[in-house]
């Protein structure tokens, strides 16, 4: 059975909460934007892989804006994502400016787009370190902490998703998991090697 097409308002609503339809909403955002973002990247020295990567990062920015309650639906979602994608691609071009020319008017566009101020991007360089940490923290803890600190789910929502009896159990679990994470981070040889600086 085909899934229902969602309006922009429905997408924002679904992503604001902790809905099981979140993946469906993200899929629709992706499908609506891939053509225009691909065109923009492909006509500006990029490849289709670059375009996918840029769009994924733009959707992450969009998702985080929604989760933090900062997103206002003032234009179509596709327009917002397109603007963010443009800034992301501009930043990537700037990083490679030795080999690729950056269109001048993009520079100005990035400087005047309020929506993309203070935007943080996904950093693949930290992925290996993070993966390693969470191997030692455990999958349940990872889920609880991500739901609470990244997806901003309430304790009731976490208790429901994790099938805990009540929100107090979710709260206790989160506290224990954060303690565990802190311990795991501080025990890594990498962390220890940095802290040695202070002691030596």
């Amino acid at each position: 059975m085909g899934k229902k097409n969602l309006s922009d308002q429905e997408i924002v609503h679904l992503l604001s909460g902790h809905s099981k339809q979140e993946n469906h909403a993200l899929g629709q955002v992706y499908a609506r934007c891939i053509k225009s973002v691909s065109h923009m990247v492909l006509t500006n020295n990029g490849t289709s892989t670059d375009a996918e990567d840029v769009l994924q990062d733009a959707i992450i920015v969009f998702y985080e804006k929604i989760k933090s309650g900062q997103f206002k639906l003032r234009s179509a979602i596709s327009t917002y994502i397109y603007s963010v994608s443009r800034i992301i691609w501009l930043n990537k071009l700037k990083k490679n400016k030795a080999t690729i020319a950056v269109p001048e008017f993009w520079e100005d566009a990035s400087a005047t787009t309020n929506e993309t101020e203070n935007m943080e991007f996904y950093n693949p360089d930290s992925e290996a370190f993070i993966e390693q940490l969470f191997l030692n923290v455990g999958e349940d803890c990872k889920r609880v902490m991500i739901m609470s600190l990244y997806q901003r789910a309430t304790m009731e929502e976490i208790a429901h998703a994790m099938e805990y009896k009540n929100d107090q159990i979710a709260r206790n679990k989160k506290t224990r998991c954060l303690k565990r994470l802190r311990k795991v981070v501080r025990e890594t040889p990498y962390y220890q090697s940095i802290i040695q600086n202070l002691l030596s």
Partner: protein, 240 residues
């Protein structure tokens, strides 16, 4: 060297790109409880971002290669032919007699799109020489020249709502539809807001975003105060 913020310090820590000097600063900051809490939160956030990235990669993979395998019932060859023939005939009948003739997005765009006239010359509302050059070229249907001039305007100043609108128009007329989209600001307080919305909707049609275009056309058609109301209603009939 300018001092890094705590967030930058933590980002570099996670990416293992701290310099010797920064490692010392990091070690020093780690004595602070608020920094510790910030580090824990940043790590969880990075994990969340990483999980979401994986989810989106999967969506991307699914989008590129949609599943084509479907369960089929086994039916005899003659029965199969009869079913196929019946479906084809019914389909043809439906198309011929029952369904209203609907326009494709592209045809609808071609039918309703006209480059917006240059109203700035009469009003004298363009406030820079460069923008005036862009508009002069636009009036002469020199859209490539107009785009180049608007690019220069944009590189020097933030575009005014009027410049932005005509920049979008020039791009659209030059068939750079994807680039045109962001320049039609449907939220502007400028008088051209209605026209910006109309052209934004047409550009969505042209870029194949039919559902969004229909939703926007419906908004215009529902508002009796808008001059484009009837045109939008007529367009909707042809699209549906």
């Amino acid at each position: 060297m300018s001092r890094l913020s705590d967030v930058e310090l933590i980002e570099r820590f996670m990416a293992n790109t701290l310099s010797e000097e920064e490692r010392a600063i990091f070690a020093d900051r780690e004595q602070d409880e608020s920094f510790k809490a910030l580090l824990d939160e940043a790590i969880v956030k990075a994990a969340g971002r990483s999980a979401l990235k994986q989810q989106l990669k999967q969506i991307s993979a699914d989008y590129e290669a949609p599943a084509v395998t479907t369960k089929r019932r086994s039916i005899g060859p003659l029965k199969g032919l009869l079913v196929a023939a019946s479906v084809a005939i019914l389909g043809l009948l439906a198309v011929q007699f029952f369904l209203p003739k609907s326009l494709s997005s592209d045809s609808a765009f071609q039918t309703y799109y006209k480059p917006y006239p240059d109203i700035t010359t009469q009003r004298g509302s363009v406030d820079s020489t460069l923008a005036r050059t862009a508009m002069e070229r636009y009036s002469k249907a020199d859209y490539v020249g107009s785009i180049q001039a608007f690019e220069e305007v944009a590189s020097l100043n933030k575009l005014s709502p009027l410049d932005s609108f005509y920049y979008g128009q020039a791009l659209l007329a030059n068939q750079q539809t994807n680039e045109a989209l962001p320049f039609f600001d449907t939220t502007t307080k400028h008088l051209l807001r209605e026209e910006a919305t109309w052209y934004f909707m047409l550009t969505l049609l042209k870029t194949g975003q039919k559902e969004e275009a229909i939703s926007l056309a419906q908004q215009i058609a529902d508002d009796p105060s808008l001059e484009r109301q009837q045109e939008a209603a007529a367009l909707l009939k042809k699209l549906k």
